[in-house]
Amino acid sequence: MTQHARWRRTRRAMAGAAAVALLAAGCGSGGGNGGGTSGPADTLVAYTGQAGDYQRNFNPYAPTMIEGPGNIFEPLFFYNVVRDDAPVPRLGTDYSWNETGTELSITTRENVTWSDGEPFTAHDVAFTFDMVRAHPTMNAIGFDGESEVVDDTHLVVRFAQPAYLEAPTVLGKLWIVPEHIWSTFEDPAQNTVQDPVGTGPFVLGDFKPQAFTLAANPDYWDGEPALKNIRFVSLSGNQAGADALAAGRIDFQTGPVPDLHNVEKNYPGYRAITTHVFQIALFTCSDTALGCTGPQTDPAVRRAIYHALDRTQLNALAYQDTAAEISPGFALPGRDDAVISEQLTDRVAPMEADPARAEQVLQEAGWSKGGDGVYAKDGEKLSLSVRVVSGWTDVITAADTMTQQLKAAGIELTVAQSSWNEWSDARGRGDFELVFDSLYPGPSPDPYYSYNYFFHGDNTAPVGEVANPNFARYDHPEVNAALDALQQLDPADTAARQPHFDTIQTRLEADMPYIPVLTGGTTSQYNAEKFTGWPTAEDLYAFPAVWQRPDNSQIYLNLKPAGGE
C-alpha cells in the first residue's frame, strides 16, 4: 500500500510527464553522484514527501505539524511495529500494570533536561497526559486515564476499564511536552509551537519554507547524537525525489524509484530496503444488513475471488516484486508467526491461481455458469466493479491483471477509476462493491490493533454514513466478542490470547470481508556510503520509512557519519 501511496504524486501528473521524467531520472543516474553534493558529511538530507512550502508548525499534536514527534518531543517508550521487540525506553525507564490492568505505573528517566535547561520530571508527563485528556481536539488516541504523580520519577495512570492495550498509544504515541512552557498556552491544540523546546536528540536549527534543519542536541540524555544535522527538503513529488536521489542531493527517502531491483547499480552508494506491513486487500461492501448490495455480499463470491487470484503474477506485473505473502487471517507473516492460527486452512494465501477451486466454491453456493462464461444466480450476473484511484498506476495495473485472472474463473470484474477525493469519499460511505486498499498496522507489533480497527463492528457504520475505518461493513458477533475479550487480557499472556486470535482468523478466512491480495512493500533508499547504522533486513530495529514517526528518530540516533569524518 505504501508503495502506491507514495506513487500518488507522480501518478497525478500526466502520464506523458511521468514517462519523460523517468527518462530524465534514468539519464541523470549515469551522470555521476559521489554523495558529496548533499551537503556536509555529518548532515543527512531527508525528503519526507513534502511538496510545496513548509508551514512552520512543530506542535506534535497537530495533524499538520512538519516535524517533532520522536526527534524533538520524545515518547516514553519506542514501539517497533515491524518486529516483535520489547518497547525501547526513551523518557520512561520502566512500566508495569496492576493485576486487573486498570493501573499503569510508570518510572521516568532521571537527569534529563529540556533543551532550555529546565529539568524534566514526572510532572511533565502527568501534565501532558492531563492536557491531552482535557482537549478533545488533541486526543487522537481516545485517552481517558487519570494521572497521579507519586514523586519526580514515578507516576500512576488509572483507567476505568482494563487498558492493557492502550499501553502502546499512551507510552508510545503521547509526546511529552514541558509543563513550564505549555501551561502558558491558551489553546495548546491551536498553538504552532514556533520554537519547540523538547527533550529529544535534536533541536530546531534554521527554518526556511523550502527546507529546515534539525541540529543535534548537545545535552541529550544519551549523549549528543553522532549525526549532527538533519535537513528536511521540499520537492514537488516522487519524481522530483527520484531525480534528486539520482543527482545525489538527498540521502534518505521513502518511495519507489524506477528499476527498484538495481538501486545499488543505478545510484552508486545508495541501498534500498523494503519492509512489509501494509496488507493489500480488496475491501468488499460485505453486509446486507448494513445496506450493502451486489454479488460480493455472498461470502462464496469473496472466497472464489480469493482462489482465482494469481498473486505471483500480480506481484511481478504491478509491484516490481516488492510485495510479499499475506495470511487470510491478516496476521503479518514473519512478525506475527507465533500468532498465525493453526486452524486456518491456508496459513498464507496461495501464490498461484486455482480457478477450478474458485468455480467449485461458486457452484456449491448455487451459482451457475451462463452462456457468456460468467456465473449467475437468480438472474443476477456475477459482475463486480472495483474502485481504484485514477493515476495510481500500480493499483490500476493490479486491478486490470485481476480482471483477466477472474475472467478465467467466470467472474466479471470492471475497474472504475475516480479521483482520490471521490474514491476516499465513496470508501467511507460504503458506496462501492469492491475497493482496492490496504490495512495499516497499529501502534505496536500486535495484530490486535488492525483487527480492532478493521473488523470490529464498533468501527463501522451503515452504508451512507462514514465508517471509520471498518470500510467493509463487517460486523460479526463472534469477532466482536473475541476482540472485546482480548482487551481484557494482558498481552503478555499469550496462551490466553491465542484462542481469541484463532476465532478471529478462522472467521476472517471463512467470511473474507477483506479479500487478501498481498502484503505490500514500503521501499526506502538511503545513502549507505555517507552514513552507517541503517536498519537492514537482518536488524530491523525500526520501520525504515522517512515519514514514520518516531521510528525515524531511532534511525537518526543510530546513524554515524561513515569514514570517521
Binding site: 501511496a5 506523458g16 539519464c27 508548525n57 535537513r231 514537488s236 531525480d243 476516499s424 515519514w547
Partner: protein, 329 residues
C-alpha cells in the same frame, strides 16, 4: 463620467458572481477535509486510532452543522473584512499568510516571464512584419511550433537537457535553501539562477503568440495611407517602422498584455510542479488535494480580483486612448 460609473457597477456585479461561484464550486467536490487528512495519515505509517476522526473534526471545526446559506453569508462578510479564514491543509495558518508567502514568487517569476515574452514577441513581430517576405518569416513557424508543443513536455525536455544532463541550471526549487532568505545579493542571485529555467520555458512557449499577432498587425498597418505619406516625406525607414507603424499596430497586443498580466497571479501550475517552485500554483494544487475550501476560495479570490482589475484597467485605458469606445447614443 457615466461611462466610468457604469463600468465600475458592472465590475462589482462580476465580482459578486465570482465570489459566489468561489464559494459553491469547491463544495460540490466529493470528500471532506477530515477524511482526506485521515486517509493521508493512514498511508503515512498508519496507526490512526478511530478516535482521531472525532478529534480532528473538532480541531478543524469542520463539523459545525451550520446550514450552507449561513456559511455563505458569513463568508461574504469575512471576505469584505479581509478575513479569508484558516487553511486546513496548513492548519492553523491563516489563508492570507499562506497566500502571502507564495504569491510574490509567482508574481515575480511569471510577471517577468510574461513581460519578457511580450517585449520579445512584439519586437520580433515588428521586424518580421516590416520586412515581410524576407528570411525572417521563418521565425513564425518556428515559434508557433514551440507554442504548440504541450507546455509540460517542453518544460521536462528543458529540465532533461539543461538540468539533468548539462547541469547548467538547478533541478528544482525557488532558491538555494542553504542561504538566508532576505534582501542580500547571495539570496537574490540564487533566486534569479533558480528562476531562469522556469522563466525561459514560459517565454519560449508563449513568445510565438505575441510575435504572430504583432506581425500581422504590422502587415495591416504597413498598407495604411499615412505610412505611404511618411515614405513620401522621405522619413527614415526605421523611424517609420517604430514611430508610425509599430505604435499603431501594438494597440491590440497591449490590450492582450494587460489581460495576461491579470492571469500572472494564477501562476502556472504546471511550471511550478515541474520545477518544485514555491508559488501560488502549487498551493492551489495542495488545496484541491486536501479539500481545503478556505485556501481554494482565497486563491480564487486573488485570481478573480487580479483578472477583473486588469480588465477594468484595459477598459478604462481604452476609453481614454480611443474615444470611439466610450461614445454613448
Amino acid at each position: 463620467m457615466r461611462y466610468y460609473a457604469r463600468k465600475l457597477g458592472f465590475y462589482l456585479v462580476a465580482l459578486w458572481a465570482a465570489l459566489t461561484l468561489n464559494f459553491f464550486i469547491p463544495r460540490l467536490m466529493p470528500g471532506n477535509p477530515v477524511d482526506t487528512l485521515l486517509a493521508k495519515l493512514q498511508q503515512r505509517g498508519g496507526a490512526v486510532d478511530p478516535s482521531a476522526r472525532r478529534s480532528y473534526e473538532l480541531l478543524l471545526g469542520t463539523d459545525t452543522g451550520e446550514p450552507l446559506w449561513r456559511q455563505y453569508t458569513s463568508y461574504l462578510g469575512n471576505v469584505l473584512r479581509g478575513d479569508l479564514g484558516v487553511s486546513v491543509s496548513a492548519f492553523p495558518a491563516e489563508v492570507t499568510e499562506v497566500i502571502g508567502q507564495s504569491l510574490p514568487w509567482t508574481v515575480v517569476l511569471v510577471g517577468i516571464a510574461t513581460l519578457l515574452s511580450f517585449t520579445l514577441g512584439v519586437t520580433l513581430g515588428t521586424i518580421t512584419g516590416w520586412r515581410r517576405g524576407s528570411r525572417l518569416d521563418s521565425l513564425i513557424p518556428a515559434t508557433t511550433v514551440l507554442a504548440a508543443v504541450p507546455y509540460f513536455w517542453l518544460a521536462l525536455i528543458l529540465v532533461l537537457i539543461f538540468s539533468s544532463t548539462l547541469q547548467w541550471f538547478p533541478l528544482f526549487g525557488g532558491y538555494d535553501t542553504y542561504l538566508a532568505t532576505g534582501w542580500n545579493w547571495d539570496f537574490i542571485s540564487s533566486a534569479i539562477y533558480h528562476g531562469t529555467l522556469p522563466a525561459l520555458t514560459i517565454v519560449i512557449s508563449s513568445v510565438g503568440g505575441w510575435l504572430l499577432g504583432m506581425r500581422n498587425m504590422m502587415v495591416a498597418t504597413g498598407s495604411e495611407d499615412y505610412i505611404l505619406t511618411a515614405h513620401a516625406k522621405g522619413l527614415r525607414e526605421r523611424r517609420i517602422m517604430t514611430r508610425y507603424a509599430a505604435r499603431n499596430a501594438v494597440l491590440p497586443s497591449l490590450a492582450g498584455f494587460a489581460i495576461s498580466l491579470g492571469f500572472v497571479v494564477s501562476g502556472s501550475i504546471i511550471t511550478e510542479q515541474v520545477f518544485s517552485y514555491p508559488g501560488i500554483g502549487s498551493k492551489l494544487l495542495q488545496a484541491v488535494e486536501n479539500s481545503d475550501y478556505a485556501l481554494m476560495q482565497g486563491i480564487f479570490l486573488v485570481i478573480t480580483v487580479a483578472v477583473l482589475a486588469a480588465n477594468l484597467l484595459v477598459d478604462l485605458l481604452h476609453g481614454f486612448i480611443d474615444p470611439r469606445t466610450r461614445v454613448t447614443t
